[in-house]
Amino acid sequence: MSSQTQTASDKRKTGEEKIRELRELFADANEIGKQALENVIAELTSQVSEPPPAIESAGRVGARLGKRSELTIIVPLVPGGAKRLKTFLRSLGGNLSPGASKVGTLHDMRFVFFDNDTRLLFATSFDGDWDTYIDDFIALIPDYLDLMDSAWEGWPGIRSPEAKDYLIKHQITADGWFVAEPDLSLAEIQRQNRVSKAVDEFLDKIQ
């Protein structure tokens, strides 16, 4: 289910070629789309000519920008799974802090149920590659992972050697993504918060 983030031929195309390709595709769009493209074409031309660093691959699947990786999983749910998972999430007011904060690399997570609660979209972003710490998760928080993932159809259990393959099979790599501060890890953001507070305290004291 995964797709390449960017093909080699995309990289080789000039800005002019990219704009021509967009114009050809938008020729089939409705008037709203066509007009919108024309309105931004000048700005877009300069953007595609000198694009920012492309998103990279985060290991076997998923995209990465700087220190941050993204993970999107769409899975079918077992009967009753949505109800159990939703009840669990609601018991925490839908807010997974502080449990999730303990992981130390997770910037965000969201659980979205759709198709009459038969499927789940799980999306998260985090520092580094997702499987670097998988053994630590298995050792330290296996039950929380299984509590949530047992609603997923075919979930083999986090301790199973098949767990990694299951996740990869259901993961879809993002084609577009934005991270405001890709080089700031969560630990670094927290450190900067502490430093900023300490500097303010220091400045207060010397006044």
Partner: protein, 456 residues
């Protein structure tokens, strides 16, 4: 008498092992003797029959770990690379049962290992990283005479076989067994449950044997996947072989640039490692060295970081706090017992010279070859390289890297927490440059015989 003997006598801690010690190779469990003398031999098998014959001849001379704590010397151990297993004619389904990183080899995993720039495989010594190293033989002994004798035995086994010696590297014979940068090393080893020996004070709780030896339950309660068939995998393990060149001149220049007196330089040297050169840990000897403490196996590892939560004794980024954070507060959910390796450090070349200051001194062949041993050595080495060596995020110090074995970036720094403000030392360089590396499978003694009998 070896240091292990002394500690066993002192603690009376040897007890019955639940591991098949007669099957496990000695090097897996037996620390190097003190003093130590040895040789690494790297071989290429030119035809499968010669390779199998070599295993048949060599196996009777390979020591098992039975009575490993008695440190009888000399001994031989042997590892085989993925290309070596292929050269021996191991069937395809068996080859495919080895982990992907092992099959690819260390050079091909340079991205995952962060072996780039100075450490890039294209800069390695000629023998390494080309798939040509098939067999690694290690000879350990406690005297030069015994080293020669055991090496002679190993070499006799090659007679008449189509097997080429790619490299031979003598090691050891350092005054005081110091490493190439002048430190006592190899102190803190992971304690292995059921290996027949109680942990030394400070070693922590015993770690499940399956983390280090194939076929036993690991920390997760089950064995890690094992190469097939069982006879091949069981009681074997993996070895990450990494050869470092020590840039002793750069190291000394760094100390002199940031320390005006001998005492300042030695304190800085201790801050980089977390131990004084004697082995005395900063947590137990924060102000001045204590050589008696450094030499005492019962005390030189008996500490944690509970009273050093701000890193004012042992900096967060120092080498030993990275390689075993013990009870340090980490920024990420981490089980430190999952990321340990048995280390056999083998120093080669002339001993450390504190007055070596030139760039020419950086290139004098001198350094250390490490054997990093674990049932999941490839994954653990990749984890350590990415997280604990070439990053500082896990312990809250941003991009800083391990000052001893890290690959330093331009304008790298090393932070020393202190009162009232931390000291940040700039201009730290890569002091140990990687010059070669291979992954070996270190089979059990039965597996060695099984390999010798392939196709027969």
């Amino acid at each position: 008498m070896s240091s292990v003997n002394e500690s066993a006598a002192a603690s009376g801690a040897a007890r019955e092992s639940v591991l098949d010690l007669h099957e496990i190779q000695a090097t897996v469990l037996r620390p190097r003797p003190a003093p130590y003398f040895g040789t690494h031999v790297l071989l290429r098998i030119n035809d499968a029959q010669s390779g199998r014959e070599l295993f048949r001849r060599l196996t009777p001379h390979v020591d098992s770990a039975a009575g490993w704590w008695s440190a009888k010397t000399p001994w031989l151990s042997v590892g085989i690379s993925y290309t070596g297993l292929k050269a021996l004619g191991l069937p395809e389904n068996s080859l495919q049962s080895f982990p992907e990183a092992f099959r690819e080899g260390m050079a091909a995993r340079a991205r995952q290992l962060g072996d780039t720039g100075l450490n890039d495989p294209k800069n390695w010594d000629a023998a390494y990283g080309k798939g040509e190293v098939h067999i690694g033989v290690q000879a350990f002994s406690d005297s030069e005479e015994d080293r020669r004798r055991i090496l002679g035995i190993a070499r006799e086994q090659l007679d008449g076989l189509s097997v080429s010696i790619l490299a031979m590297q003598d090691f050891g014979a350092q005054p005081g067994d110091l490493n190439p940068l002048g430190y006592k090393d190899g102190i803190d080893q992971p304690p292995i449950e059921g290996s027949g020996f109680d942990p030394l004070p400070g070693q922590g709780r015993p770690i499940k044997a399956g983390e280090f030896i194939l076929g036993y339950p690991g920390e997760a309660g089950v064995p890690v996947p094992m190469p097939q068939p069982d006879i091949l995998g069981r009681n074997g393990t993996y070895v990450g072989f990494r050869k470092y060149q020590s840039r002793v001149g750069a190291f000394n220049r760094f100390l002199r640039a940031h320390g005006n007196t001998e005492a300042e330089r030695e304190l800085l040297a201790a801050k980089l490692v977390g131990r004084w050169r004697s082995g005395a840990p900063l947590v137990l000897a924060p102000e001045v060295d204590n050589p008696a403490l450094g030499a005492d196996l019962q005390r030189n590892n008996d500490f944690n970081y509970a009273n050093d939560s701000r890193g004012r004794q042992a900096p967060f980024g120092c080498h030993i706090r990275r390689m075993n954070p013990r009870d340090s507060k980490l920024t990420r959910l981490t089980d430190v017992n999952l990321h340990r390796l048995i280390r056999r450090g083998t120093t080669y070349g002339p001993p450390y010279d504190p007055n070596a200051l030139s760039e020419a001194d950086d290139e004098v062949p001198r350094g250390a070859i490490f054997l990093f041993i674990s049932a999941k050595a490839m994954a653990t080495i990749e984890f350590l390289q990415q997280e604990w060596i070439n990053d500082g995020n896990f312990i809250g110090i941003g991009d800083e890297r391990d000052p001893i074995i890290g690959l330093q970036q331009e304008e790298a720094s090393f932070t020393i927490p202190n009162e009232p403000v931390r000291r940040r030392v700039h201009g730290i360089e890569t002091f140990n440059v990687l010059r070669g590396g291979e992954y070996f499978f270190m089979p059990s003694l039965s597996a060695l015989k099984w390999l010798a009998d392939l196709n027969s």
